[in-house]
Amino acid sequence: MSMRMTRRRFLEGTLALVCVGGGYVFWNRRQRLRKQIREHFSYLQLERGAVRSFLRDYEQANGLGSAQTAGHSGLARKFLLSTDFFHFDPDESRTIRYSRLADPFVNPCYNPLASFR
């Protein structure tokens, strides 16, 4: 039995290709972003999954794709603030864990730089 290329099938196929291609581009950029942040802090020991968790929460708060349009330095600094790096005296030899997104509208009273006592 031969498959005939109808107009409908052609459009469905094109749409599927666009979705797969778009998804790949998005995934690829996300991978690149993770790599960039990890490289930015190459002198730190980041817990596995820390950058992924940060990017997930960041985009949940700011919209899908927002991390890709954010400035690199700003994103990197926000990542570091979102880890437990500043919970203690910054210690580069310690494994750094993701804590919570440093965003006042998501975690209003999370500020590892302030002191209230």
Binding site: P104, P108, P112, L113, A114, S115, F116
Partner: protein, 475 residues
């Protein structure tokens, strides 16, 4: 149909009106009737936080800006209290005598001592946190709350300038207030404080509007004050597309310094001083990288107040400035030197100039228009000297480099368009904020300021309104 009659009609529900209402209700008879006309909606705090991107900039369509700068404010129940950062310094005694002491600007028709009691009252209403024992202003009572904690760089400045550097007084509470506002947790987004910590009319004075004597009409835009001879008889307002009229024995305009003069002009109460002298302080943000000194550990977003270039003889030549030190949650992107940076803001006074003004709209477009040609040479002299000023002021700190930004677009402190004074030829209201000619009409708020001192004006606006209400009953 007869129009309803009220003992008091207030236009606006921000600090100017709400503080007046607070004191008015303490003295008013049990069957008094008060009408408050608010052109904005009542937007609950949670709604404001969730819709913060929509709210921002919404005010711009309410006036025509013919200025090279912006004018920021909020149109909603509670007005500016929704978006302010709750900084509440008093003006210095010398700010009330600018002309006498320094030969520039104007004197106020009342002095610091006459306002001191009302400053205290306003601080109590807002449950202000501040440094009672170490304050730049003479005080008769302590602040309701203990001061916030300075940051590490503030501590260095405090040691270097013991009489010129202080903890900032603020209505961002140091501890949970008696009224239930949570302590400030330095999240740095006070314009939409996510935990509703800073004082606002919504969270601090809302009960005034539940008083059975008070009726509030929302989305009600005052159009004109009806005046017969030297007596105001009521207010025409628009609500839901329909024109309405309310009669009032006393009328208080508590809108901002764009809309107060506009209402006066539309009501035929124009004169040489009405709308003239539109002014704001000029602020400049400064970022500093430090060499070997960390900046952290403050307990609120703006921790310090520097008076190093505020009082003094330099005010004869150039504007005084107030310095704010910030405690933002941000780090420097330099390995091992994360905290070696600081952010400051220099806020300079400006002088009223006749060429800067609010103009009335016309039949085609009735919105007020701002015409702002330039800042004064007096303010610009301070801005021009800022490089040198920053070097001097920060000399106790190990500064690596400094970035001085362009002046900010607006300080959200619009002032000076219906000023108080003793001379009806050059001012609009008297020292009690009563219109010189129409003696049952008060013009409250920042429009009455004859000068624009560096201090944030809200506490002074509040104190003036409290005083005006009490004086009205006293007389």
């Amino acid at each position: 149909m007869t129009s309803p009659r009220y003992d008091l009609i207030l236009v606006g529900s921000s600090f100017a009106s709400s503080m007046f209402l607070y004191e008015y209700l303490r003295h008013a008879k049990p069957d008094a009737r008060v009408l408050v006309l608010e052109r904005g909606a009542l937007e609950e705090h949670r709604w404001q936080v969730e819709h913060r991107h929509e709210v921002h900039g919404r005010h711009k369509s309410s006036f025509v800006n013919r200025s090279p700068k912006g004018w920021f404010f909020r149109l909603a129940f509670g007005g500016a209290s929704n978006c302010w950062w709750a900084c509440v310094p008093r003006m210095l005694p010398e700010d009330f005598e600018l002309e006498t002491r320094y030969g520039v600007g104007a004197d106020w028709p009342l002095g610091y001592d006459e306002l001191e009691e009302y400053y205290c009252l306003a601080e109590e209403i807002m449950e202000v946190s501040g440094p009672s024992a170490d304050s730049p202003f003479p005080r008769s009572r302590p602040y309701p709350q203990e001061p916030h904690k300075l940051s590490t760089t503030d501590e260095v400045l405090k040691a270097a300038y013991p009489d010129r550097f202080f903890v900032q007084p603020t209505a961002r509470p140091r501890r949970t207030t008696a009224s239930g506002r949570l302590s400030c947790c330095a999240n740095g987004v006070c314009h939409h404080c996510p935990i509703d910590s800073k004082f606002s009319i919504l969270n601090g004075m809302r009960e005034l509007y539940d008083d059975p004597r008070v009726e509030i009409q929302l989305l009600a835009r005052a159009e004109t004050v009806d005046v017969a001879g030297s007596h105001a008889t009521g207010v025409h307002y628009l609500q839901g597309g329909a024109g309405r009229f309310a009669r009032g024995d006393v009328i208080g305009l508590g809108a901002n310094a764009l809309f107060n003069p506009h209402l006066l002009m539309r009501s035929g109460l124009d004169g040489p001083a009405v709308g003239e002298g539109l002014v704001e302080q000029v602020s400049v943000s400064v970022n500093v990288n430090l060499d070997g000194l960390d900046n952290l550990l403050g307990s609120t977003v703006i921790t310090g107040h520097g008076y190093m270039v505020y009082p003094g003889e330099h005010r004869k030549q150039r504007a005084a400035g107030l310095i704010e030190t910030f405690n933002y949650m941000s780090v420097r992107d330099v390995r091992g030197r994360w905290h070696q940076r600081m952010a400051l803001k220099f806020i300079f006074e400006d002088l009223r100039q006749a060429k800067n003004r609010v103009l009335p709209g016309d039949d085609k477009d009735p919105r007020p228009r701002t015409l702002f040609r330039s800042r004064s040479a007096y303010a610009m002299a301070a801005i021009d000297a800022l490089d040198e000023t920053v070097d001097d002021v920060l000399s106790p700190l190990p500064v690596e480099d400094v970035t001085i930004k362009s002046p900010n677009e607006s300080e959200s402190h619009i002032l000076g368009t219906a000023i108080m004074g003793n001379d009806p030829e050059t001012s609009v209201v008297d020292r009690d904020l009563i219109h010189h000619r129409v003696r049952n009409l008060l013009v409250l708020g920042g429009s009455a300021f004859p000068t624009a001192a560096p201090a944030n004006p809200t506490l002074t606006i509040s104190a003036l309104s409290l005083r005006a209400a009490r004086e009205m009953f006293g007389s």
